[in-house]
Symmetry: C2
Subunit: 124 residues, 2 copies
C-alpha cells in the first residue's frame, strides 16, 4: 500500500511515517512502476506502527526502539550486548508501570475528593 493508505489505516500522519522511516523503524520498497518514487508498504508496517506506539507509551525513545528492532532482526554481528540492553529496558518499563499505577491511584483519589468537595448548590 502507499503512504496515504498506511496513514489512514494506522492513524498516524504521512509525515510521521516518513519520520519513522528515516530512522529505519519501518521500511518500504520502491514502487513497481519505475517512473515514480512512491513508497510501497507491506502489512508489516501497520504492525510496526502499533508497536512503536506501545514502545513510546512504555517510555522508550525512537532511538531505543530502533535498537530493539535490530535485536529482533538479529543484526548482532557486533559486540553489542543485546541481552543486557533488553534486560535494562525491561526493568525500566516495569518501574514505569509501577509509577503509573501509583499515579493512577492518586488521580482516582483526587477525583473522589473533588466530588465530595465541590458539590455545587443545586439551582433551586
Amino acid at each position: 500500500m502507499r503512504i496515504g493508505e498506511l496513514a489512514k489505516q494506522s492513524g498516524v500522519s504521512k509525515d510521521t511515517i516518513r519520520f519513522y522511516e528515516r530512522f529505519g523503524l519501518i521500511t518500504s520498497s520502491a514502487s513497481n512502476t519505475q517512473t515514480n518514487r512512491y513508497r510501497e508498504y507491506s502489512e508489516d508496517a501497520l504492525f510496526t506502527i502499533d508497536l512503536i506506539a506501545d514502545a513510546q507509551a512504555a517510555g522508550l525513545t525512537i532511538a531505543e526502539f530502533s535498537m530493539i528492532l535490530a535485536q529482533l532482526n538479529a543484526q548482532t554481528d557486533d559486540d553489542f550486548d543485546g541481552e543486557a540492553f533488553l534486560t535494562e529496558k525491561i526493568t525500566q518499563v516495569q518501574t514505569r508501570i509501577e509509577q503509573s499505577k501509583r499515579f493512577l491511584t492518586t488521580l482516582k483519589q483526587t477525583r473522589k475528593a473533588l466530588r465530595h468537595a465541590t458539590r455545587k448548590p443545586s439551582p433551586l
Copy 2:
C-alpha cells in the same frame, strides 16, 4: 531546607527544581534572613517531586500535572470542569499502562528469542 539539600535528597538537579517552581509545581518561602533571596523548602517539596516523577512516568506533562495540583488545592473558583479532566487523565493513564504491559511482553519475548538465537560458540 535550601535548594542544594532538596536537590540532593530528591535526586533531581537544582535547575530542575527551579524549573518546577517556575511552573508552580512546588513552592518555597523566602529565607528568614532578609539579606539573601535564598529559597526555603519544606518536606512537602520532596513529596511533590516524587509525585511529579510518577506523573511523568504516567505520561503527563508538567502543564497537565499543574492542573491536577490545582484540583488538589481546590482552586476551583472557575468554571473549569476538574472532574471531567481527571476522568480523561485516568482513562489515558489506564490505556498507557496497558500499552506498557503489552510492550513489556514483547521485550521479554525478544530477550528469550535472543537467548536461544545468539548462543555464541564457546571459546574452547
